[in-house]
C-alpha cells in the first residue's frame, strides 16, 4: 500500500484504504508564499523611498542624496533656511493649514447635507445632480483647475484669485468624498430607523437629528479626515488659482522648487511636515472611528481602515 508522504499510515489488515500519493507541493492548503513575498516586496518598494526622504530632511548637509549626519536644522534653529525661520516656508505651512481647515469646515457639512438630500429626494433632478457629483469625482483635476481659472478670471471676477478661489475650488473638488461616503452609509442604514423614530413621535427633522446623525457619525468623521488629508496634499487646483506667493501652500512650494530654488532638504522638511499632519489626522480618524462604531457588530480594524480610505 502506498502511504501519504510524510505521514505514516497504520493500515488495518483487511479492507484497508489505499491512499494516493500526494505531490509534495500539491497541498491545497499551503500558504501562498509567492504571493506573500510579492506583496512584501511591493510594500517595501512603496514605503522605503518615503522613509528615505523623511530621513534626508534631517540631513546635516544640503544634499538630498548623501547622508552627512543628523540635524534638525531644516526645521528649527537660527538658520534662515529652516522652516521655522524662513518666511517663505513658514508662510506655506500656515497657508496649507488654513486651506485645509477652511475647506474641511465648508465642504463636509455641505457634502453630508447633499448626500442626505439626494438620497431621499427621489426624482430626475436629484439623479442628475448625483451624476454631476460623480463626474466631479472622476474628472482629471487639471481640467477642472483650468476651467476654474477661467471662471474666476473671466466670469465671476468677484471671486478673487488666491485663498478665496483656492478654497472654492477645493470645496468643489472634494465634495464627492463626503457625498459618496455618507451616501453609501445611508444606503446601508436604510429608512427603518428614521421610521421607528417617527413612529415614536419624532418630526422629520427631529428624526434626522436624534437618529440619523449619530448613525452617520462614523461616515462623517471618515470623510472629514479624508477631505482634510486630501487638501493638505492638493496642488493642481491650488496652483492654478493662486495669486501671490503668500497664497502658496507647501505642496505648491515644493513643486516650484524641486528643480532648483530652495535647498533640497528644506523641501524634504516641508514634505515631512505635511506627512506629519496627514498622519496625525489619520490616526485620530482611525481611533475615533473605532470608538464611534464600538456599539456595532461589523466594525473592526479592517472596516475602519477601509472606511478611512474611502471605500
Amino acid at each position: 500500500m502506498a502511504s501519504v508522504i510524510g505521514e505514516p499510515v497504520s493500515a488495518p489488515a483487511a479492507g484497508a484504504v489505499i491512499e494516493r500519493r500526494r505531490r509534495p507541493l500539491g497541498n491545497p492548503w499551503r500558504r501562498p508564499w509567492g504571493l506573500e513575498g510579492f506583496t512584501v516586496l511591493y510594500i517595501a518598494w512603496s514605503i522605503l523611498p518615503i522613509a528615505v526622504a523623511v530621513l534626508f530632511s534631517f540631513n546635516k548637509g544640503a544634499s538630498q542624496a548623501t547622508w552627512q549626519g543628523f540635524s534638525t536644522k531644516w526645521y528649527v534653529g537660527g538658520w534662515i533656511q529652516s522652516v521655522a525661520n524662513n518666511p517663505e516656508l513658514h508662510q506655506a505651512v500656515i497657508q496649507t493649514l488654513r486651506l485645509a481647515g477652511l475647506t474641511t469646515v465648508i465642504c463636509v457639512p455641505i457634502g453630508v447635507a447633499f448626500a442626505i438630500g439626494i438620497d431621499r429626494w427621489r426624482g430626475r433632478t436629484s439623479g442628475g445632480l448625483n451624476i454631476v457629483m460623480i463626474f466631479s469625482f472622476v474628472i482629471p483635476e487639471l481640467l477642472l483647475a483650468v476651467a476654474l481659472f477661467m471662471l474666476v478670471t473671466q466670469l465671476l471676477t468677484f471671486i478673487a484669485l488666491g485663498t478665496t478661489a483656492e478654497v472654492a475650488g477645493l470645496v468643489v473638488w472634494n465634495l464627492s468624498w463626503p457625498a459618496i461616503i455618507v451616501r453609501a452609509r445611508l444606503v446601508t442604514i436604510g429608512k427603518t430607523y428614521e421610521e421607528a423614530a417617527a413612529d415614536l413621535g419624532a418630526s422629520q427633522l427631529g428624526a434626522i437629528r436624534r437618529v440619523l446623525m449619530p448613525m452617520l457619525m462614523p461616515a462623517i468623521f471618515a470623510s472629514t479626515v479624508l477631505v482634510f488629508a486630501s487638501t493638505i496634499d492638493d496642488f493642481v487646483i491650488v496652483e492654478q488659482v493662486s495669486s501671490t506667493a503668500a497664497t502658496q501652500p507647501m505642496s505648491v512650494l515644493i513643486y516650484s522648487n524641486v528643480h532648483g530654488g530652495l535647498q533640497g532638504p528644506a523641501l524634504n522638511a516641508l514634505a515631512t511636515i505635511m506627512l506629519f499632519f496627514s498622519l496625525v489626522v489619520a490616526v485620530i480618524g482611525y481611533v475615533a472611528y473605532r470608538w464611534m462604531t464600538r456599539g456595532e457588530r461589523k466594525a473592526g480594524a479592517t472596516e475602519a481602515l477601509t472606511s478611512i480610505a474611502g471605500m
Binding site: 421610521e195 421607528a196 417617527a198 413612529d199 415614536l200 413621535g201 436624534r210 448613525m215 457588530r297
Partner: protein
C-alpha cells in the same frame, strides 16, 4: 368607546401600475388581537404601513377611535410599531431606546425612569437598562422593541412579522408570551404574518389576504374549518383540494358530487353550487379502511408514502382517479395496519367534505399561489401535486 377601535374603509394603495392593496374594508374592536395573514406580496405589510403612517393611501380612510388618521404623519398618530428588524437604535442603551418616545410627551425625568422600568418589567427584561442592543439576543431585542412601543401606551400596536427572524422553538415560546402580554395590557394588536400557524394560535380574529384583497375574515376556527374559497382552504393547513362536479345540488335534498367515477355526499360548504367545484377536506378527517371494507363516501386507493412526524403520521394516498391526498393519523402506540403500497379504502366523511366555488384555475396553481416563496414546512405542506 374603548380605545383602539380601528376601521379601514375602502383602503387602496397603488404604486405606479401595481395595486398593492385593493379596496379593503375591515373593523377591529378595541383590545382585539387581530392578524393579517397571507404570503409575501399579498398587501398585508403595505396595509400595516398605511395604518402606521409610513405610506399615504391612494384612497380610502383609516379611522382610529372615530378620527380619520389617513393623512396624518406617523408621529401624530396614537399608534406604535414593532418593526421586523426591531430597529433598535444601536448607539443608545436599552433604557434610552425605551425612553426615546417619552421625550416627546413632556414627561418628567423621574416619570420617564419609572415608566421605562415598568415597560422593561412587562417584557421581562428588568435589569437590562444599561445594555446595548448588540449585546442582546434576537429574542431580547424583540422585547426591547415591544417595550419601546408599549411604554407610550398607544391605542393600537402594530407588529410587522416580529418573530420572523427567530428560530422555531423561540418563536413558539414568544407567541404564547405575546398573546399573554396583549391580554394583560388590553391594547389592540394588529399583527402581520405569513405563518398561518402563528396567526391561528395567537389571534382573536384574522383576515386572510391575497393579492391586495381580503379573502376571508373571521375567527381562527371559522377560517380553518369553514374556509369560503379554495385559496383560504389551501393557505391554512393542508386542504386536499380536488376537482369535482356537482351531481345533485343541495337545497331540496342532500348534495352529491362526482369525483371521477365515484359519487360522494357532501355536507359542508357551498351546497347550492352547481357545475364545477373544488372539494376540500382536512387530513385529520380522512379515514383509511382495509381495502375490502364498504361504506358511504369510500373510494379505493393506495398508500404511497408514510411520514413519521412525532405525535402524528402523515399518510400520502392516491385515489383510483389519480388524485393525491394527505391523511393524518395520531400515533397512539398501536402502529398502523398499512404500509407503503398497501391498497386501502379511503373514506371522506360527508360532514367533513367541503364544497368550494371553483376559482377557474387548477389545483396546482392554487398551491403555487399559497406557497409564494415561503420555506416548506412539513407539517403544513400542501399535498403533492395531482
Amino acid at each position: 368607546m374603548p380605545g383602539g377601535h380601528v376601521q379601514l374603509q375602502s383602503l387602496t394603495k397603488r404604486f405606479d401600475e401595481v395595486t398593492a392593496v385593493d379596496d379593503i374594508s375591515l373593523e377591529i374592536e378595541g383590545g382585539e388581537f387581530f392578524s393579517l395573514l397571507g404570503p409575501s406580496g399579498c398587501g398585508k405589510t403595505t396595509t400595516l404601513r398605511m395604518v402606521a403612517g409610513f405610506e399615504p393611501p391612494t384612497s380610502g380612510s383609516i379611522v382610529l377611535d372615530g378620527v380619520n388618521v389617513a393623512r396624518l404623519a406617523p408621529n401624530r398618530r396614537n399608534v406604535n410599531t414593532v418593526f421586523q428588524s426591531y430597529a433598535l437604535f444601536p448607539f443608545l442603551t436599552v433604557a434610552e431606546n425605551v425612553a426615546f418616545g417619552l421625550k416627546y410627551r413632556s414627561v418628567s425625568k423621574a416619570e420617564i425612569t419609572t415608566r421605562v422600568g415598568e415597560a422593561l418589567e412587562l417584557v421581562q427584561l428588568a435589569g437590562y437598562e444599561k445594555r446595548r442592543p448588540n449585546q442582546l439576543s434576537g429574542g431580547q431585542q424583540q422585547r426591547v422593541a415591544l417595550a419601546r412601543a408599549l411604554v407610550l401606551r398607544p391605542a393600537v400596536l402594530l407588529l410587522d412579522e416580529p418573530l420572523g427572524a427567530l428560530d422555531a422553538k423561540l418563536r413558539r415560546t414568544l407567541q404564547v408570551e405575546l398573546n399573554a402580554l396583549q391580554k394583560q395590557v388590553g391594547i389592540t394588536f394588529l399583527y402581520v404574518t405569513h405563518d398561518q400557524e402563528e396567526a391561528l394560535t395567537m389571534s382573536d380574529r384574522l383576515a386572510v389576504m391575497n393579492r391586495g384583497k381580503i379573502a376571508q375574515l373571521g375567527t381562527p376556527e371559522q377560517v380553518y374549518s369553514e374556509p369560503t374559497d379554495a385559496y383560504v382552504a389551501d393557505f391554512l393547513g393542508v386542504s386536499n383540494l380536488m376537482d369535482a362536479t356537482v351531481e345533485t345540488s343541495g337545497g331540496a335534498g342532500p348534495c352529491r358530487v362526482r369525483l371521477g367515477e365515484f359519487v360522494l355526499g357532501a355536507e359542508a360548504g357551498d351546497l347550492r353550487a352547481t357545475g364545477k367545484v373544488k372539494l376540500a377536506i382536512r387530513p385529520e378527517r380522512i379515514h383509511l379502511h382495509p381495502h375490502e371494507s364498504t361504506g358511504a363516501n369510500q373510494m379505493p386507493g393506495m398508500v404511497e408514502r408514510l411520514v413519521f412526524l412525532g405525535s402524528t403520521t402523515q399518510i400520502f394516498v392516491r385515489l383510483a382517479n389519480g388524485a393525491a391526498l394527505q391523511a393524518l393519523e395520531r400515533n397512539d402506540g398501536k402502529g398502523l395496519p398499512y404500509s407503503q403500497g398497501t391498497p386501502v379504502r379511503i373514506e371522506l366523511p360527508a360532514d367533513a367534505l367541503r364544497v368550494l366555488p371553483d376559482p377557474g384555475v387548477g389545483v396546482s396553481e392554487i398551491h403555487e399561489e399559497t406557497l409564494g416563496d415561503l420555506p416548506l414546512d412539513l407539517a403544513t405542506s400542501a399535498a403533492p401535486h395531482s
